[in-house]
């Protein structure tokens, strides 16, 4: 491979790690029209017809994610979503899987920091069956005790399994260390300690208080007639009893001050994986578009400054990038790369140099033009399919945004000036206040790690937690 696939969180997170962006060059690319329906019980439906392929995609967002987990019991939101298809009032887990697979359907659920999400996709000819299964898992899960126990044990081993590969867990170590006591530090999937503390009652309680119509947005996109779909969904979901809810409001995490570093020892590592950054932006930040332009040039594409220096010119790594993970509150910003143990120092030094150069040199007119063209050219394939569109409109609704977000994007991109980029670099690309997380072979890289911050914390990958 020339490079690895982007880190798509897909159905498991609403927070946009991969920033959707603009409209096409000449003509405006508009979001296709869709209908919004509010049911009497408070549930929001979004319906969009797409007739190119005989598929229908569902994307539901529930306004409760890992931040709603009680401290010490991290993983409840995630367990709840994982158990939806493990038994309902009328079907066992095996029956659900058998009926779903028989029609070649897909149905998955997961929890991110701010939301829980249920996604499904069915071939048009099996829509009635598919809808029945989808509504069943949303409305009537019973969380059988044996399935709860089974999934908890699987999740515990899943953490062990994940820790065998630094790449798969560095994001969680970074978030935990960066956010500290703020709820965004919590591992959405839980950890070795918190999972052991979760009972079936916790899960039932989480479901009953959060999976309620007023908390739920359901986007359906695909090969159907809107009027028919509206009627079917109204019939299916109107009986869901309304319930008062107070969605949790999480304040923004303060940015980290000064420098600190966490070294996670993985004794078999021949490469050091690292993240460097600070608290970034919320999904609704007014500077989101400008940040995307700057970040595209800094670390958001193959010819970005980071990739050019660390990979293309110096061969120190297979990949170097930077990203803003946008959430309801301010999510993480990070520079991310990996390099052999022996070149750890050179690689991190170079990444920091590139960051410094971004401040000192700024970006050129030609680069700004290039970034605008790139973002606009790469945008249409991100809203090409029914599942992408379902996710997109559910996400807009979730954040209180609407189709203007997409339809005016091109104009916003075009309006960006060099002066805007200077301000954005100053404001959002921290230079002196940085948090470092390294996973690697401590016996070889500890002396190097120490030089980046006055305070170094240390952990072993075998230790519980992140």
């Amino acid at each position: 491979m020339k490079r690895m696939g982007k880190v798509f969180l897909l159905m498991f997170m609403l927070a946009g790690l991969v920033l959707p962006a603009a409209a096409q060059g000449g003509g405006e690319l508009k979001l296709p029209p869709y209908k919004k329906v509010k049911l009497q019980n408070g549930m929001t439906l979004l319906l969009m017809e797409q007739h190119e392929v005989p598929l229908v995609s569902f994307s539901a967002a529930i306004r409760a994610g890992a931040v709603s987990d009680p401290a010490g019991k991290e993983g409840i939101a995630s367990m709840t979503s994982g158990l939806l298809r493990k038994g309902t009032k009328s079907r066992t887990a095996d029956q659900l899987s058998a009926e779903l697979d028989f029609i070649g359907g897909q149905l998955g659920a997961g929890a991110g920091t701010d939301s829980s999400n249920v996604s499904a996709e069915f071939v048009k000819k099996d829509l009635a069956k598919g809808l029945d299964l989808f509504a069943d898992v949303m409305l009537s899960p019973i969380f059988p005790q044996d399935e709860v126990t089974k999934l908890l044990k699987q999740r515990l081993d899943g953490i062990k399994s994940a820790k065998d590969q630094a790449q798969g867990v560095i994001g969680q170590y970074y978030n935990s260390y960066l956010f500290g006591k703020h709820p965004y530090a919590r591992p959405a999937g839980g950890d070795e300690g918190s999972l052991a503390a979760i009972s079936r009652d916790d899960i039932v309680k989480f479901y009953e208080s959060n999976y309620v119509p007023g908390n739920t947005i359901l986007a359906v996109v695909g090969d159907f007639q809107t009027a028919d779909m509206e009627k079917i969904l109204t019939d299916k979901f109107s009986a869901w009893p309304a319930k008062a809810v107070t969605p949790l409001r999480v304040g923004d995490a303060p940015a980290a001050q000064g420098k600190r570093l966490l070294l996670v020892d993985k004794p078999d590592a021949t490469q050091t994986f690292f993240r460097i950054g600070n608290v970034g932006i919320a999904r609704t930040s007014p500077d989101r578009v400008g940040i995307e332009v700057v970040n595209t040039l800094f670390g958001g594409r193959f010819t970005s400054w980071l990739s050019t220096e660390l990979r293309i010119k110096n061969g120190l790594t297979y990949g170097a990038s930077s990203f803003f993970d946008e959430r309801v509150g301010r999510g993480p910003f990070a520079i991310s790369s990996f390099t052999p143990n022996a070149t750890t120092e050179r690689c991190i030094d170079l990444a920091l140099e590139v960051l410094k150069r971004l401040h000192e040199q700024g970006i050129s007119e030609a680069e700004l033009k290039s970034a605008k063209a790139y973002i606009k050219g790469q945008f249409p394939p991100t809203i090409e399919t029914s599942d992408q569109l379902a996710r997109e409109i559910a996400e807009l609704e979730f954040y209180g945004l609407d189709e203007r977000e997409v339809n005016t994007f091109s104009a916003k991109i075009e309006a960006m000036t060099l002066a805007d980029t200077k301000r954005i670099i100053q404001q959002y690309f921290p230079l002196d206040n940085l948090v470092f997380v390294l996973i690697g072979k401590a016996s070889e890289i500890e002396p190097v790690a120490k030089k980046y911050a006055p305070k170094m914390d240390a952990k072993s990958i075998s230790q519980p937690g992140f």
Binding site: L29, G104, K124, K125, S370, G377, T385
Partner: protein, 450 residues
């Protein structure tokens, strides 16, 4: 010169074979074809749903065309294809493409090297210039080669050394194959990455990159006529030459189980089992596809049900077979749960295969597999990228993309008995290779240092 053009409708074929598979508006996919004078085949799928294009070029060269000492060369070469040619120098391919709204990637397998460009249609002419430049006049700068060597060694480290599944998978293939080139990893052995020379790269270019050795697939907001016109202008003047020498080595029949063990620091063990099976264009293609679906796809699949759900011996199980030109492996990859002996998992896996061989599959399972395959087909057709990929893949592995159009009819012909017979034929003790990763504590020496 006379051009060959064909127009075929997917929709009609698929609907005839699958009855109520979709509505009249469901699927109206046409593939148009053209062959250049230099032998490059072009397949075009016009889809105007978004103003973008997915441009794929499939070269029939991969690690199977390599030799000991220069393993991994096809993959390294794939990287060099982005490092400058005559008109567009070092770094320009990516810089110019991104500045015009495009992005790209590429991959190498045992069989193929595939280049992928995704861009707004306004960049179409430019993409042809970029692609033509690099297959006509690729440059070989020693300094660039050294830097890229570092990138590729890093890629090997991240995908093999620092990935226990990568380590074990490499051992599985190296053990299952003793003669055929599938025995070495696509990324190459590290020592070979360090040692290959400029002339190895130049020879590789001469061997694999004749236009006649490639299929170009373009899906998206284009018309066949404009693609042909651009290809005639930029690609057709590039002369053709001999294709890579035929890979004559055949893997001798395995005559007894082979086992390999990797011991290293890890949280959990891994078990992999591989059975030799035929290549993609074999008559057993469809029964093998059905077997793969029944064993692995979905939570109702046999192995998920038994290993993950009922006996709770494994965290996950995955597997199947890669599409290939030569006989390949049908493999099983299992992550045992903490505290579970991999030998126990292995035994239960064999119990399941035994049950399959003795009892066969049910009507329900066969129909399920066919439904899943149809849904997968639609999912691949959702994007211009998916279309380019599937059309090109069928074309190179079957020699003709029409096989894709007939897939529904071919699946309809698969019988339970055939699936059972194929399971009996290949899932035998003599034909299998077993690889196990056993966790080990870090060496005391390493701990002392700390």
């Amino acid at each position: 010169m006379k051009h060959v053009r064909k127009i075929v409708s997917f929709a009609v074929v698929a609907l005839l074979c699958l009855g109520a598979a979709g509505s009249a508006s469901a699927q109206n996919v046409e593939v148009k074809t053209h062959t250049l004078k230099n032998g490059m085949k072009i397949l075009v799928q016009e889809d105007h749903s978004i103003p973008n294009v997915a441009f794929y070029v499939f070269y029939r060269i991969g690690s199977r065309n390599e030799r000991p000492g220069t393993t991994g060369l096809s993959h390294f070469f794939e990287h060099m294809m982005f490092n400058g040619a005559k008109k567009f120098g070092f770094g320009e391919f990516d810089r110019v493409m991104e500045a015009n709204g495009g992005s790209n990637n590429a991959y190498t397998s045992q069989n193929l090297t595939v280049y992928q460009d995704w861009f707004p249609r306004s960049a179409l002419d430019l993409i042809f210039q970029l692609e033509a430049d690099r297959i006509r006049d690729l440059s070989f700068d020693p300094k660039v080669i050294e830097s890229e060597r570092g990138v590729v060694r890093n890629e090997r480290k991240v995908s093999v050394e620092n990935n226990n599944f990568g380590i074990l998978n490499e051992q599985l293939w190296a053990t299952a194959y003793i003669a055929h080139p599938y025995q070495w990893p696509v990324v190459g052995w590290d020592v070979d990455i360090v040692n290959w020379k400029m002339e190895d790269l130049q020879n590789h270019f001469r061997m694999g990159y004749s236009p006649s050795n490639a299929t170009m697939v373009v899906s998206g907001d284009v018309k066949l006529e404009e693609i042909v016109a651009l290809a005639e202008k930029y690609i057709e003047p590039i002369p053709s030459h001999d294709p890579p020498p035929q890979v004559t080595t055949q893997e001798p029949e395995q005559q007894g189980e082979r086992r390999v063990v990797v011991r290293k620091f890890a949280q959990l063990p891994i078990l992999m089992v591989g059975y030799h099976v035929p290549q993609t264009n074999s008559p057993e293609f469809y029964p093998l596809q059905v077997l793969e679906t029944i064993l692995f796809t979905g939570q109702s699949s046999r192995l998920y049900q038994r290993l993950v759900d009922k006996d709770q011996l494994a965290l996950f199980v995955a597997g199947g077979w890669d599409w290939s030109f030569d006989p390949t492996l049908f493999d099983f990859s299992v992550r045992p749960r903490a505290g579970i002996d991999p030998a126990k998992v292995e035994q239960v896996l064999y119990d399941e295969l035994d049950r399959l061989q003795k009892g066969g599959i049910t009507d329900q399972e066969l129909e399920k597999a066919k439904n899943i395959r149809l849904a997968e087909f639609y999912r691949q057709m959702k994007t211009i990228s998916g279309k380019s990929n599937i059309i090109g893949t069928y074309d190179v592995f079957f020699g003709d993309y029409h096989k894709l159009l007939n897939a529904a009819a071919d699946y309809a012909k698969v019988s339970k008995e055939e699936v059972q017979r194929v399971a009996q034929k290949y899932f035998t003790e003599k034909n299998r290779t077993v690889a196990t990763l056993i966790p080990e504590a870090p060496s005391p020496k390493a701990q002392d240092k700390k």
